[in-house]
């Protein structure tokens, strides 16, 4: 089996494979968490040896790094789980050796591996409360908390604060249009500003959830 075959096999999984970096003795694959099982299935074609799952608390997300050994070369599958969703599929039925590593991540970081076969403590004392995983930190964005509202408004409207109804009324009473001709006043401009936010990747930095239309919270 060549390294190229391995990479092509992973890429065939398709949507959800975000990045593949291949070095001499290491291949790093970044994926969406929803395709972890498909990627592991693709790896199984190459008879991998499971090594470890490392978890890293990033503040808003927990990064999981699944390490495999394929013919003496390291393959790291990286994925991020949003803390507010906190869930990923188990791979234990595909790769039984992952059982204790998933269990450790459950206990220390509070991650839910859906359909994980075993419950109960593995590394923590038996009387350790299950809702207090010791290595999991409180939800924390990159931006200081006091600037989150400003950041949320900037990403969603292009302005530092939303226009209040009270001010719209006051403007009308004073003979002005209810809103100025700003970015939030028409769809085209708003679309441009939002594209600019995505292009500058400020939406990611601020932790903006486009589906919910607000900053991510715990």
């Amino acid at each position: 089996m060549s390294k190229n075959e391995l990479i092509e096999g992973i890429k065939k999984v398709g949507v959800g494979v975000l990045d593949v970096i291949s070095q001499k003795r290491k291949t790093s694959v970044t994926i969406e968490p929803s395709i972890i099982r498909q990627v592991v299935q693709a790896l199984l074609e190459h008879q991998p040896r499971f090594v470890i799952i490392a978890a890293v608390d990033l503040g808003m997300d927990i990064e999981l790094l699944y390490h495999f050994d394929v013919e003496g070369k390291l393959v790291v599958v990286r994925t991020k789980i949003a803390k507010e969703y906190n869930q990923i599929d188990t791979i234990v039925d595909l790769m039984p050796a992952a059982e204790w590593a998933e269990k450790e991540a459950v206990e220390l970081f509070g991650i839910n591996f859906s359909a994980h076969p075993k419950s109960g403590h593995f590394v923590l004392p038996k009387d350790w409360p299950s809702d207090k995983p010791p290595l999991r930190e409180a939800f924390k964005g990159v931006l200081p908390e006091q600037f989150c509202l400003v950041a949320e408004s900037l990403v969603s409207t292009g302005m530092t604060a939303p226009m209040s109804q009270l001010m719209q009324r006051k403007r009308e009473e004073a003979g002005l249009p209810p809103s100025p001709p700003a970015s939030f006043a028409n769809e085209k401009s708003l679309g441009e500003v939002r594209e600019a936010m995505k292009g500058a990747e400020f939406d990611k930095k601020a932790g903006y959830d486009w589906k919910k239309g607000k900053l991510r919270r715990a």
Binding site: L143, Q146, F147, V150, A151, L154, G158, M159, T160, A161, M163, S164, M167, K170, R171, E173, A174, G175, L176, S179, P180, P181, A182, S183, A185, N186, K188, S189, G191, E192, V193, E195, A196, M197, G199, A200, E201, F202, K205, A206
Partner: protein, 301 residues
């Protein structure tokens, strides 16, 4: 459009794209009204920039993310460029952001390329052609104090302080940082008011500090300034920045919880000019202010 009608043959140099920013339309729209009336009188054609975003703010937004700050600023500059007009701003913070972003994009080709690529995805292009003008510069350099004086109906017999604001001292390399503050003073004097100076005129009002340490901003920045104004018998403070204006007004309210009671009117330079030109407090909707600007106007008009 604000001010002179487009069809009236206004000279090109008196036609601008007006950048209203966030603060004026959303917090002190009386400044927008006054600007409209003053520009009309002085033959300034100010065409409201359509679809603009926050400049964005030169302190907080810039520190949150420089790339986002530059991208939005470049987009705003590109909007004015599309109209073939220079930008006229009514706010010190907007002025600093737009001028500095322009300079950075001019001097740093790598950054300019990166920002240009992001802008291109939004269908915009910035070519560095637009000039950014503070309202103080336009009033002093393009209109002129003599012309302003002609429209003063009744000289304002007031003892006023000027708060130039930190960002007004921004100049391009080698420029005189006192150029705009001195112009500001001459414009205020043109209304007939006495400008009373004090040693704390250059002290920051504390607005940007409020979001980090409110008590510090109020006690160490605003309070000493208010005390100095009271000591000098100041009847009002004139600013050229809506953020400073908000700080002077809400700051005086917030200071009450620390036992300091001040009620000094604070208004924007275009509002002062509109008052001098004879517009009433009602016409200017001065009741929007949180300091007694309306009472100040009623005293002199």
């Amino acid at each position: 459009m604000i001010g002179k009608k487009a069809s009236s043959g206004v000279r090109d140099e008196m036609k601008y794209a007006l950048f209203l920013g966030c603060m004026i339309p959303q917090r002190i729209p009386s400044v927008e009204i006054a600007a409209k009336k003053v520009f009309e009188k002085l033959d300034i054609a100010a065409i409201e920039l359509q679809g603009y975003s926050c400049c964005p703010d030169s302190v907080v937004a810039r520190l949150l993310d420089r790339k986002m700050w530059l991208t939005l600023a470049a987009r705003n500059l590109s909007l004015a460029e599309e109209q073939g007009l220079d930008l006229l701003v009514l706010c010190n913070g907007c002025y600093e952001t737009l001028v500095e972003a322009k300079e950075i994009l001019k001097r740093d080709p790598q950054t300019a390329k990166e920002i240009g690529e992001i802008l291109a995805k939004t269908g915009k292009k910035y070519e560095g052609k637009v000039k950014v003008r503070h309202v103080i510069e336009v009033l002093y350099e393009d209109v002129g104090v003599d012309k302003i004086k002609k429209f003063v109906k009744k000289p304002l017999k007031l003892r006023l302080a000027i708060h130039p604001g930190c960002h007004m001292f921004r100049e391009t390399e080698g420029g005189d940082i006192w150029r705009k503050p001195k112009q500001f003073e001459e414009i205020v004097k043109a209304t007939g008011a006495d400008v009373v100076k004090n040693k704390l005129d250059r002290l920051c009002c504390g607005f940007p500090v409020m979001q980090v340490n409110e008590e510090f901003a109020l006690k160490r920045n605003l309070l000493p300034k208010l005390a100095a104004y009271q000591e000098h018998g100041i009847e009002g403070v004139v600013v050229s920045c809506p953020a400073c204006n908000v700080q002077f007004e809400t700051g005086q309210v917030l200071l009450r919880k620390y036992g300091a009671r001040y009620n000094i009117p604070c208004l924007h330079i275009v509002e002062l000019l509109a008052m001098a030109f004879g517009y009433s407090a009602k016409e200017l909707a001065l009741d929007i202010h949180r300091s007694p600007v309306q009472q100040l106007a009623q005293k002199v008009i």
